[in-house]
């Protein structure tokens, strides 16, 4: 057993129940055709998570391929800027492919190999999950098809090319709104016909049970490392954790190992977009209601008739009308607080981190940073706060250049 970041996939808490419920949320809301596939996956995962050979293999690859553990970095520039609590960054942007997404893709592709499935499918919005899955599939010799809305393919051309270079076929989805939710529909439809030889690598803690649990467990290496690093580097647990929430996988991965630590305050930051009107944001917990979408019951953005609402965020990775059921559960329990940050605030934090720390963050992570900067001001100098820097911002340069007008400035 290598000395590694020690991912541990065994359950730490009673949730979800055997039916996949986190309180009232979660469950399996899928057509009967998929029932056998999700049941088989639940059984296979349950065996895998208890098999030391499986977790050892995962841990070894997390160390040698992904580059874990990712550092916990004390950010003096940010701390001075906010002027109070000490701010630390969990550097998921330094993981292979530039974001936390690889933890999940790699773990699920290993699970697919273990299940004897030769083909992988995935949905992607911004392309980060698609690239991470294409990467893991290439390394493990699996065939990979990634579904992507035609609108997103246009906006995220470099990621389409990356996936193709990695040997993945990018399947254009031109139904509905031609974005992430439609790509998810297309992946689910494919899986209904292909599940005997295909594994569906879902990209976040969403979908029918057991996906929210599998993705949380695979991502919880973030929180487990962070907890240990806090104890080693700070000498105590942090006072607060802040992470952005779209579907919620980086947040679930950071929060889960801290759920029992009552002294640690946890805040999930949703995309506040450009306002609170329907279609202006992507914040289902803050502005939505419980409903069923993509196989589980959780907070969703729907109109009063139950039709999925359009969503907007400056960050393509947060631009999704649903959220993981465990977040809905944590919200209702009051264990995690959920708030929003607007496009403008996120963009400001994006620039601030670049200038003060020499790190260009993903626009997704910039939402967490923006809230952390506000929160740090309300805390005391002896307190500590960890922000999950879930990804790097190279992918967002075109968008940032356009929004900040950088191409018009001369110096």
């Amino acid at each position: 057993m290598p000395h590694t970041s020690a991912a541990d996939l065994l359950p730490q808490r009673p949730e979800p129940n055997p039916g996949g419920h986190f309180g009232d949320y979660g469950g399996v809301y899928v057509p009967e055709t998929l029932h056998a596939a999700v049941a088989q996956l639940a059984e296979a995962y349950d065996k895998a998570r208890q098999d030391k050979a499986f977790t050892d293999q995962f841990n070894l690859l997390l160390r040698d391929y992904v580059g874990r553990p990712t550092p916990l970095y004390e950010a003096p520039g940010l701390t001075r800027h906010a002027g109070s609590a000490r701010i630390y960054l969990k550097r998921e942007d330094l993981a292979h492919t530039g974001a936390h997404k690889i933890n999940n893709s790699l773990g699920q592709c290993l699970l697919a190999v273990r299940m004897g499935k030769k083909r992988i499918i995935a949905e992607t919005g911004a392309g980060q999950h698609g690239v991470a899955t294409a990467t893991a599939a290439a390394m493990l010799g699996l065939t990979c098809d990634v579904f992507m809305g035609t609108e997103d393919m246009r906006r995220q051309r470099p990621n389409v090319l990356r996936m193709e270079l990695l040997g993945t076929r990018v399947v254009p989805v031109s139904s509905g709104s031609c974005t992430l939710k439609d790509a998810t529909n297309a992946a689910l439809r494919d899986w209904m016909e292909s599940s005997d030889h295909t594994h569906y690598v879902i990209g976040s803690v969403v979908g029918p049970h057991p996906f929210p649990t599998i993705v949380r467990d695979l991502q919880s290496v973030i929180g487990r490392e962070c907890r240990r690093q806090c104890l080693e580097q700070i000498g105590s647990l942090p006072n607060a954790l802040v992470a952005c929430v779209g579907g919620g996988s980086n947040a679930a991965g950071l929060f889960y190992p801290f759920v029992e630590d009552a002294s640690v305050k946890m805040i999930g930051v949703e995309a506040g977009g450009r306002g609170q009107g329907q279609g202006d944001h992507a914040a289902p917990i803050s502005f939505g209601k419980p409903g069923v979408l993509h196989g589980s019951l959780s907070y969703v953005l729907q109109d009063p008739d139950g039709q999925t609402s359009p969503v907007h965020s400056i960050s393509a990775g947060l631009d999704y009308p649903g959220v993981g059921p465990e977040h809905a559960y944590w919200n209702d329990l009051g264990r995690v607080q959920y708030t929003t940050v607007t496009d403008t605030q996120a963009l400001e934090a994006f620039t601030t981190l670049a200038k003060l720390e020499g790190i260009i963050p993903a626009l997704e992570s910039s939402h967490a940073l923006a809230h952390a900067l506000q929160l740090a001001k309300q805390m005391t100098k002896d307190q500590t706060l960890v922000v999950n820097l879930s990804g790097r911002g190279d992918k967002d340069m075109d968008e940032a250049v356009r929004l900040l007008g950088l191409d018009q400035k001369k110096d």
């Binding site: 809301y29 009967e32 055709t33 139904s175 509905g176 529909n185 439809r189 599940s195 009063p304 139950g306």
Partner: protein, 273 residues
């Protein structure tokens, strides 16, 4: 007695079978859907399925999905579909089954949705994305309103589970001819007769077969063993093809096609021994 139960009882006594056409409500528009329902009854159909448009119909193939997107773009919402049914009900004696995503039912409230459906004159519901495990509240609400509740059985459903699903269903059972999504197919799955027969051993409910049933010949093939054949995509593809030619063309084309399909469900000229 529920109209669906009465119709299937009568069909059994007569030794006959039925076609169940599926119409996506609001394609090309609701008034035309109403005309299509009337034409369907005139073609001798006894049970018809009406699909309520949903933004994310994961069990549906491209044809029905496009129909639903078209309907939503016209602003066709669940309440308007139920109002159309309520207006038409006095002139129809065939049974009407609403097919609707659980996302919509959950948002409207299961009790409220079932009550409004009953009020409109609906006889039964099918929630294609709601599996057995999560179905208890919806089943109870449907039963309270005397609506039948048909759960789906897939080729991947094990026998003991199929038995539980049959037990939880009322009216009729919706047996999928194949795995996957709705849409036309060149062939009916070869093992379908065996699957129908093995299902007969665990239930006395009528069995309707859908997904991939595309023409008169396939309808005939299906009703050799099953009680009803459900045809959706093949009908909605014809709607889409003549959408631009106006409602009269749609009604004309679809009526003829449904009449042709209904022939397949009528007395079999070449019964198998």
């Amino acid at each position: 007695m529920n109209r669906i139960d009465a119709i299937f009882d009568q069909l059994r006594q007569d030794g006959s079978k039925t076609l169940i056409p599926f119409l996506a409500a609001g394609d090309p528009d609701l008034p035309t859907t109403a005309r299509l329902l009337t034409a369907t009854q005139e073609a001798g159909v006894r049970v018809c399925e009406i699909g309520i448009p949903f933004s994310d119909p994961i069990a549906d193939g491209p044809v029905i999905q496009a129909s639903m997107t078209h309907a939503l773009n016209q602003g066709v919402q669940p309440k308007a579909v139920l109002e159309m049914i309520a207006k038409l009900r006095p002139s129809l004696d065939m049974a009407l089954v609403v097919m609707v995503s659980y996302s919509i039912v959950y948002r409207m409230g299961v009790d409220s949705f079932m009550a409004q459906s009953r009020e409109a004159g609906v006889d039964g519901v099918i929630l294609p994305d709601l599996p057995l495990e999560e179905s208890a509240p919806a089943r109870a609400a449907a039963a309270k309103q005397n609506l039948t509740f048909s759960l789906l059985i897939a080729p991947t459903t094990p026998t003991d589970r199929a038995q539980q699903i049959a037990k939880a269903s009322t009216g009729f059972i919706y047996l999928l001819s194949r795995a996957g999504i709705t849409g036309e197919r060149a062939e009916i799955a070869q093992d379908l007769p065996q699957r129908v027969e093995s299902l007969r051993k665990v239930t006395s409910l009528p069995i309707a077969v859908g997904f991939g049933v595309s023409d008169r010949q396939q309808v005939r093939q299906v009703v050799r063993t099953a009680d009803a054949a459900i045809v959706g995509s093949a009908i909605m593809r014809r709607v889409a093809q003549c959408r631009d030619q106006g409602p009269d063309a749609v009604v004309d084309q679809v009526s003829r096609f449904v009449a042709d399909l209904a022939q397949g469900a009528a007395a079999d000229p070449s019964p198998t021994p």
